[in-house]
């Protein structure tokens, strides 16, 4: 296993006590694999990932364990974490304009990654940067290297960010909502860049997204988060074909899709996602919105149960298939 996260908890200071946003997440990623973490706003999907990489916000308390290539990331000195990020772990975020320096050309910024992390010479670094743009099938690579970030479209900037994240041949690439800010027709091209990477020397991908369509295209396994916990995890084909948690089922049903005739009304999940400050520690957090909730759901938090190989569900109503 490349990355093994266990018992991860993340909390932030808030008026009236700390608020826990990740409440014990367990997941692992193998080399070359794509794990998608899906969930709605406030589910803790981004926080779980940021905390793993030492990027949680000020005041955050992170506990649990995250072993990456045998090294413990939780509590690791920030200098060492900085060395890992950009080298062994690549990062791509939703907002690509803030990830690029406005006064340096694309070529300079890409080369700098290799100069800093690998001690490469400027010339060699630039040649390697150019090669990466070719691998990602970015048209006119030489022209791109001479451009400044503001001269690029959002889609091109995001592809440059992916190229930058991949330059040091990381064993893990982490992408948080990488296509959310992009237009649909541009997204199609970016998704192909990610698919290319899967063919590329065993780079593992953790994809955080709210878009089930994007996840369906790339993920080998999917973890569904709700109120700070992973409520269901399964191989992608299984999760989409036979979801067992009522929340996953509801999420899939309420996603409009173009390949099917629309049913009116659109099935919706009643109620609101919970406020992280008021999630009960010892009950199922989805219970107030759940159509199959029973009294026992209020009595204790359902433990994850393996219902099929690699398919874990934290719900009392899900029995082994």
């Amino acid at each position: 296993m490349l990355l093994v996260v266990s018992g991860l908890r993340v909390s932030y200071p808030a008026p009236g006590g700390r608020v826990t946003v990740v409440r014990g997440a367990d997941f692992a990623v193998e080399s070359g694999e794509c794990l998608a973490i899906v969930g709605e706003s406030g589910s803790g999907k981004s926080q779980a990932l940021l905390a793993t990489l030492g990027l949680a916000g000020p005041g955050a308390e992170v506990s649990g364990s995250a072993l990456f290539e045998g090294e413990e990331l939780v509590g690791m000195p920030s200098r060492r974490l900085q060395q890992l990020r950009g080298d062994r772990i690549g990062l791509v975020f939703q907002d690509s304009i803030t990830g690029l320096t406005p006064h340096m050309t694309v070529g300079e910024q890409l080369a700098e990654v290799l100069v800093v992390h690998r001690g490469a010479g400027r010339q060699a670094a630039r040649a390697e940067a150019r090669e990466m743009l070719e691998v990602l099938q970015i048209p006119e690579p030489d022209y791109r290297l001479g451009q400044y970030p503001h001269e690029l479209s959002g889609g091109m900037r995001q592809r440059i960010m992916i190229a930058m994240a991949l330059l040091c041949r990381p064993s893990l690439l982490v992408a948080d909502e990488p296509t959310t800010a992009l237009d649909t027709t541009v997204q199609a091209a970016i998704l192909r860049s990610f698919a290319k990477l899967k063919q590329h020397a065993g780079t593992a991908l953790i994809l955080v997204s709210h878009d089930l369509g994007v996840v369906a295209g790339l993920a080998d396994r999917v973890a569904v988060m709700y109120a700070g916990r992973i409520v269901e995890m399964a191989p992608a084909e299984r999760l989409f074909a036979a979801p067992r948690h009522p929340y996953t089922q509801g999420l899939l049903a309420s996603t409009p899709r173009l390949d099917r005739a629309p049913s009116a009304p659109l099935p919706a999940i009643d109620g609101q996602p919970p406020d992280p400050a008021s999630v009960p520690e010892e009950a199922c957090a989805f219970r107030p919105r759940c159509k199959v909730a029973r009294p026992a759901c209020a009595a204790g938090r359902p433990p994850p149960v393996e219902v099929a190989p690699g398919h874990r569900v934290a719900c009392l109503a899900a029995e082994p298939a």
């Binding site: 649909t184 063919q199 309420s254 009643d270 996602p273």
Partner: protein
């Protein structure tokens, strides 16, 4: 045909950008466009960034005056309306935006926010009757009466959007414009709000102008769909017809690019891949504005602006602006390639 509620006649929006006279540049956000909205109708406007869909919404709601052309409300030019006429227009045409929190005054309670349009636009409703109406509308949009005392900052995104809907609907408008109104909402909440909008239309007969970048969402609420690109109309058709037989290469690309939440289908999907570089709106391409990204563009597309014309098969209500409408467009590669390319040599 019934008399339209609202009609655009060659309405255009041009912004002048830049401070000094030498730096001024013209940006045509909306090319001269005509549109008729009948009472109770539901029109979807779809397109990507810079297509002019929000400018269209602003012209329809008189938030922006067209720089050319006319907007007619029940046959009367908006520009010629007197004070009372404008008030009647504001009462009849309402808009909700993508981010409800930025359109709700943070210092007003939910109850005050929903009552405000009544006070401003419906002087005929006695102040004593306002609380009853507010309570009825909060209930209608699915909010508990207890929320009336809360402030916008205490609401979730879905709740805030419901407040915006209640506020827009309390004066019983005839047209509700929704500009990316569900785009910022989570999937499960988005479905609730879409169903609410559909039921309001069914029960009250309010016409909807639903603007979105998301075709799958727009399909749920629209009977007629217009596709826009760089400020211009590319294609318009009844919803079922558009999804069954789109004729414009851009519409086809849009339809083919929407990911499907099913790993088997999604990995075999062969979207039409467009050149991802959008042209600058300050310097739009000559001829057909879509030609720089179009997979089937020919020399003719550089020279001639395509007219908005009936679809090649003459289907009712279906118009396309393309010299080569209906011609086959090559599809791209699927995400999962059966035989992966050979790994490139290292070093």
């Amino acid at each position: 045909m019934t008399a339209p509620l609202l009609e655009l006649q060659d309405a255009a929006v041009v912004y002048t950008v830049g401070r000094t006279p030498f730096r001024k540049r013209r940006l045509q956000a909306l090319a001269p466009t005509s549109l008729r909205i009948a009472p109770g109708e539901s029109i979807g406007i779809v397109g990507e960034s810079g297509c002019g869909k929000s400018s269209l919404a602003r012209v329809v709601t008189a938030l922006v005056a067209p720089t050319a052309g006319r907007v007619l409300w029940r046959g009367r030019d908006l520009a010629s309306l007197d004070r009372e006429g404008r008030r009647a227009f504001r009462r009849s045409v309402q808009i909700i935006f993508q981010n409800p929190l930025s359109s709700l005054n943070p210092r007003m309670s939910v109850g005050e926010l929903v009552a405000e349009p009544l006070a401003v636009l419906r002087p005929d409703v006695r102040p004593a009757d306002r609380p009853t109406r507010v309570a009825a509308w909060l209930d209608r949009v699915g909010l508990t009466a207890a929320l009336a005392g809360r402030y916008p900052a205490e609401l979730s995104g879905g709740q805030a959007q419901r407040v915006a809907i209640a506020r827009a609907m309390i004066c019983e408008p005839e047209l509700l414009v929704c500009d990316e109104a569900v785009s910022a909402l989570d999937v499960s909440i988005r479905a609730q709000v879409l169903n609410l909008l559909a039921s309001l239309r069914a029960e009250l007969g309010v016409a909807l102008l639903f603007i979105s970048h998301d075709l799958a969402v727009i399909r749920y609420v629209s009977t007629r769909i217009r596709v826009m690109y760089l400020g211009r109309l590319m294609e318009e058709a009844p919803a079922d017809r558009l999804f069954a037989s789109a004729q414009h290469p851009y519409t086809r690309a849009l339809l083919s690019a929407v990911p499907i939440p099913d790993p088997v289908a999604e990995r075999q999907r062969q979207p039409i891949l467009l050149n991802p570089e959008l042209p600058s709106p300050f310097d739009p391409p000559s001829g057909c504005v879509f030609r720089t990204r179009c997979p089937i563009a020919r020399p003719n597309c550089i020279l001639q602006v395509p007219n908005v014309a009936p679809a090649p098969d003459g289907a009712a209500g279906h118009v396309v602006a393309c010299h080569y409408a209906g011609q086959p467009v090559p599809a791209g590669t699927p995400l999962a390639q059966p035989s992966p390319e050979p790994a490139r040599r290292s070093g």
